[in-house]
């Protein structure tokens, strides 16, 4: 496709190739030139040979000496009056493509995917385009991360310029250890044994009209090889002390046990959309992900059957979650009575502000398309139901919360789709990016913004514009935008980044992309991308939590944002997803910060399931 004068300027040092037949004698202008964004693909397929090709800045305004057809590289022998090349942008860095920024273009070759940064572009005005990208990670961070980080490190080492930190509020977590879960006549905790009242199942069923059946199972580690319907949620069991609000005061939490909701509809259809995690538990759970159970934990697993065909309606999953919370709530009541002497460990989380440091904000996109995609926001109890507002009912507009509210369970996730890339309720309880940013002494985390992902494009842009203004009035120096899932939600994900980016705030985007989740849209502000993929093949492999945001991703994202905020370059993404980009970046960060970054396992560490064998690996 022909390019505009603006694009020509951005690609001044890229090869000049005719987009269409042009007749001898014409003066070459941008409208005669093909968009360099598609060259790689053309060169790959042997359709284009750029040897000896002049650059765009050299040929503009020059005369074409003979009629040439489309995709003809403009070489010295067909051009008269070419200009001398200017110094290529930066000479320092050895040849690598330096900067990114350049929006790239449409045309998405097949599987594109992830690299680190992204190239993409939205066509003028309306049509959008495509893209490609992907990002794997930090593609970028690579070279650039280094210098920036070094600088930062030096600064830190420098004298005592440790500006005083300000503790805004604290949250105390009292941990109670549970080693055994049994059924009994009443729900109570004795020592480290949790008893769940027998017969409580009937109340779960009666609570919601759409809940047609319910079974409770206690899954101990020796029972991990048990078949299960798709996992709808994993939740911490926690309660507030007294009248404390979420995100402040004291929270009691049980260690060694989690709530797990699973389900199907009456017709036996899994409550999932793009993939579902049904199968043997030990083959379908990525242990230790922020949103997943840890190996060794006991699952209080409730399997719900909802009314036929409500699995894909908002009311079905909502009813399941609401009914299941009856059990959790009864446990919470029991926890409130526990004697302080049973506290196994006390942990204090501090919300720290660091005036003078670069102010950053985390924007987390959560699902709000309706159907099964929703979240309960700010319940009274951690990951509870009572008191919460459904994201969809709030119109998906941005909701600002404190980092401690996130870590105290302010999101009850109704995420029953795309299991590998969706964030379970427990994910927020251990949200790695919030933790990393909160603890990083080089940045000042001002808060977290949740924004829903509506179904309709007009609504997507409605909310993303609100995000732009929200971040603008924070005077943030940098922002993260994270999302879960892939596909439709990438439209607003890209728009959030654009809205923030156009205000001059560098934005690091975090999403699962890799192969299957390659971005479908993009814009010129999507220069800093981190791919959350962990799967071997870069796919949604239906293993719970596999491709969600982990500490290793948070570390890379922070390094990248610091690099961007320092004005350093981040290298453009490679054209195709290349997992090596991530490893290179990790090594760089390890070298600069002198810290070891533990990389997570992926599905290859699990026993192979029949499903995976047949469908994926």
């Amino acid at each position: 496709m022909s390019i505009t004068a603006e694009t020509a300027k951005a690609h001044a040092h890229d090869p000049a190739v005719l987009c269409c037949r042009a007749e001898g004698g014409i003066t070459i202008e941008p409208a005669n030139l093909e968009d360099p964004a598609i060259f790689d693909d053309l060169v790959d397929s042997g359709l284009l040979n750029l040897d000896g090709c002049l650059t765009i800045e050299e040929v503009l305004g020059a005369k074409l000496v003979k009629t040439c057809d489309s995709l003809c590289p403009l070489t010295a022998d067909v051009v008269e009056g070419a200009k001398a090349p200017s110094a290529p942008a930066q000479e320092e860095a050895p040849a690598e493509e330096e900067v990114p920024a350049a929006p790239a273009a449409p045309a998405a070759p097949a599987p594109m995917t992830a690299g680190g940064m992204l190239k993409i572009h939205i066509g003028e005005g309306k049509d959008i385009n495509l893209e490609i990208p992907v990002g794997a990670l930090g593609g970028g961070a690579a070279a650039p991360a280094a210098p920036a980080v070094v600088a930062a490190a030096e600064a830190a080492a420098a004298p005592a310029e440790k500006a005083e930190e300000k503790v805004v509020r604290t949250l105390t977590r009292k941990h109670f250890k549970i080693t055994e879960v049994k059924r009994g006549p009443e729900t109570k905790i004795e020592g480290t044994t949790l008893y769940i009242r027998e017969g409580i199942e009937a109340e779960v069923i009666d609570n919601q009209e759409l809940v047609k059946d319910f079974h409770l199972e206690i899954i101990t580690p020796d029972l991990y090889h048990t078949y299960s319907e798709t996992i709808m949620d994993v939740q911490p069991i926690a309660t507030k002390e007294g009248d404390d609000d979420i995100g402040t005061g004291v929270t009691r939490v049980l260690d060694g046990v989690v709530m797990m909701l699973t389900g199907v509809d009456e017709g036996g259809v899994q409550i999932g959309e793009f993939g579902s995690s049904e199968g043997y538990l030990d083959e379908n759970i990525m242990w230790g992900r922020p949103g997943c159970p840890d190996k060794g934990e006991i699952f209080i697993k409730g399997n719900i059957v909802v009314q036929e065909k409500t699995n894909m309606e908002r009311r079905g999953p909502m009813a399941a979650h609401t009914a299941f919370d009856i059990i959790t709530q009864e446990i919470r009541e029991a926890m409130k009575k526990l004697d302080e002497s049973l506290v196994a460990e006390t942990q204090e989380l501090k919300q720290v502000r660091r005036p003078g440091k670069k102010k950053v904000v985390i924007v987390k996109e959560i699902m709000g398309q309706g159907a099964m995609h929703d979240n309960f926001i700010l319940p009274v109890e951690p990951v509870g139901v009572l008191g919460a507002r459904a994201n969809v009912d709030l119109g998906n507009v941005p909701v600002c919360v404190s980092p401690l509210e996130v870590l105290d369970g302010c999101i009850h996730a109704l995420t029953c789709i795309g299991p590998a890339s969706k964030e379970m309720s427990r994910h927020y309880w251990r949200e790695p990016l919030v933790l990393e940013a909160l603890h990083d002494e080089e940045v000042d985390l001002c808060g977290v913004v949740f924004v829903g992902s509506p179904q309709i494009n007009a609504e997507k842009f409605y909310v993303s514009k609100r995000v732009g203004h929200t971040v603008e009035m924070m005077d943030a120096d940098g922002a993260f935008v994270t999302t879960e899932g892939f596909g439709n939600n990438h439209i607003d994900f890209a728009s959030h980044i654009e809205q923030i980016g156009m205000r001059g705030v560098p934005v690091v985007g975090m999403s699962y992309c890799a192969v299957q989740g390659a971005l479908v849209v993009g814009n010129k502000y999507m220069q800093y991308m981190v791919d959350n993929n962990k799967s071997e093949s870069g796919i949604e492999n239906e293993v719970l939590g596999c491709n969600t945001l982990c500490p290793e991703d948070a570390v890379r994202a922070l390094a990248m944002l610091k690099t961007a905020m320092a004005g350093e370059d981040v290298k453009a993404a490679e054209r195709k997803w290349n997992p090596n980009v991530k490893s290179t970046n990790v090594e760089l960060i390890e070298a600069v910060y002198d810290r070891k970054i533990a990389l997570e396992d992926n599905e290859q560490s699990l026993p192979m399931s029949q499903k995976r064998k047949e469908k994926y690996d």
């Binding site: 496709m1 022909s2 505009t4 987009c19 269409c20 037949r21 007749e23 202008e29 409208a31 093909e34 968009d35 598609i38 693909d41 053309l42 397929s45 359709l47 009629t67 057809d69 489309s70 995709l71 273009a105 449409p106 045309a107 998405a108 070759p109 097949a110 066509g123 049509d127």
Partner: protein, 466 residues
């Protein structure tokens, strides 16, 4: 002859309202329907009796005797020429059908130059102005295979020039330019001869490239001004009038003749060969089938019948009626059978709409899996017909080819102009895509070269060097 069906909607604007009733006797020139909003009078094209009036048409059973006399248009003594054009119900006969009386109701002497978009007019100074108003006569006859416009220049040059002079008078245009393709050598010579005594009227020769007849392409070729898709020719102080329309204007003013006939080219898979049959003054409302019979009848099995040209026309049926805007009837050979193969369609402003492209894909038994749109095809309003930003000048199509390949298309069907088709051919076949043009079945039938690569220059010399 068979029954005549006169559509109530043959023009841009609202349908007309019938002013006769079933059983009424009508003559050639009897007013039978009047506008209800933007529109133009509709007259009976035959002597006969109204047999039925349906929601969208008036059906007339013709009398056996059809004298040449007609009922003159009903205008007061001393009516202005513009009023006569309006009364005669003339609409743009190139196919668009915009009411001519409305179009010519402009004073070009006092019309200001519109604001030019510098992006598409890089070579013009920002304050560029045209010296006067212009009537541009569209004689490009750009749809391949049609010949009735050029035939009219050859046979009725005087009448056409009279009509042009009336247009100049009505709009206060000082000059007029005929836009005609240089390949029509005989017509060019005749016109050149006739214009020797008309200093205000000149001729601009155009290359044989599609779409030289697009209204804004005519403006660009004749005046050097590129209009945006939202601008009318008045922004270049001009009005574009189709050649046949000009002749009808002369008839309305000189003879008080209502607009009741149309010149039509009929050709294709017909008994006797694929040469063009030009029928002048076909009564509006005549059926497609009757015209085809007059041209020899269909030769065996056929693919479809196109009403209009191969690029912008639509498929039609034998019993459909000719309207004031029907220019061509093309009977095509059978379609190739793609056996359900994966097909991509490339929609642009120069060819069929997406709906028409899908129809062709379906007639070829293709499975449409991908739809791309030329970057220059602009939809001014949602649902409005596409307009090309720079008619005849390609913006590049390789990215579309990449998309089609990504969507695993085996074939693509394109409707592009000469230049864009050429670009598609620069990449698609190399990517393994087999290319059809939406006009292929018509071009093969009439023996015209297929639209693929471009071998001629977009520039032709203005010398009459033949």
């Amino acid at each position: 002859m068979g029954n005549v069906q006169i559509l109530l909607h043959q023009h841009v604007g609202a349908p007309c309202r019938a002013v006769v009733q079933a059983g009424d006797e009508v003559k050639k020139g009897t007013l039978i329907a009047a506008p209800t909003g933007l529109g133009a009078n509709i007259f009976s094209s035959v002597y006969g009796k109204v047999t039925d009036i349906t929601e969208d048409r008036i059906i007339i059973e013709p009398a056996d005797e059809q004298p040449d006399e007609f009922v003159p248009i009903d205008v007061p003594e001393g009516a202005s020429k513009l009023d006569m054009v309006k009364a005669a119900g003339i609409v743009g006969m190139g196919g668009a059908g915009f009411p001519t009386g409305v179009k010519l109701g402009i004073n070009l002497a006092e019309t200001e130059m519109g604001e030019l978009d510098p992006e598409i007019n890089p070579e013009l100074p920002a304050d560029f102005k045209l010296d006067c108003g212009y009537i541009l006569i569209n004689a490009a006859e750009c749809e391949p295979g049609l010949e009735h416009n050029i035939r009219q220049i050859e046979e009725e040059c005087d009448k056409v020039i009279r009509g042009v002079k009336y247009c100049m008078e009505m709009t206060k245009a000082e000059k007029a330019i005929f836009a005609i393709k240089k390949k029509n050598q005989k017509a060019v010579k005749i016109l050149n001869e006739a214009l020797k005594s008309e200093p205000a009227i000149s001729m601009h020769l155009m290359p044989d490239i599609y779409p030289m007849g697009e209204e804004r392409a005519v403006v660009r070729e004749c005046l050097g001004v590129n209009l945006t898709t939202m601008q009318l020719p008045s922004a270049a102080r001009s009005v574009v009038v189709n050649l046949e329309t000009a002749a009808r204007i002369a008839e309305a003013i000189d003879e008080k003749r209502p607009c009741i006939t149309k010149n039509v080219t009929v050709r294709g898979k017909l008994n006797g060969g694929n040469e063009a049959h030009v029928f002048m003054d076909v009564p509006v409302g005549t059926s497609v089938g009757e015209l085809i019979e007059r041209a020899g009848g269909i030769d065996g099995v056929y693919g479809e019948i196109i009403m209009g040209g191969a690029f912008t026309g639509k498929s039609t049926e034998l019993d459909a009626p000719i309207t004031k805007t029907t220019g061509g009837i093309i009977v095509t050979m059978e379609f190739p059978d793609l056996h359900g193969a994966r097909v991509g369609i490339l929609v642009c402003a120069c060819g069929g709409s997406e709906e028409r492209m899908r129809e062709i894909a379906s007639k070829m038994n293709g499975n449409v899996v991908s739809v791309c749109r030329c970057k220059q095809a602009i939809e001014n309003k949602p649902g409005a017909p596409l307009k090309c930003l720079r008619p005849g000048n390609c913006p590049g199509q390789t990215a579309n080819s990449i998309q089609f390949r990504k969507d695993k298309c085996e074939y693509i069907i394109i409707g592009n102009c000469s230049d864009c088709s050429n670009t598609v051919m620069g990449s698609a076949p190399k990517m393994g895509l087999k290319v059809f043009h939406q006009t292929d079945h018509a071009m093969r039938t009439i023996g015209h070269a297929l639209y693929r690569t471009l071998k001629v220059s977009k520039q032709v010399s203005q010398d009459i060097d033949f």
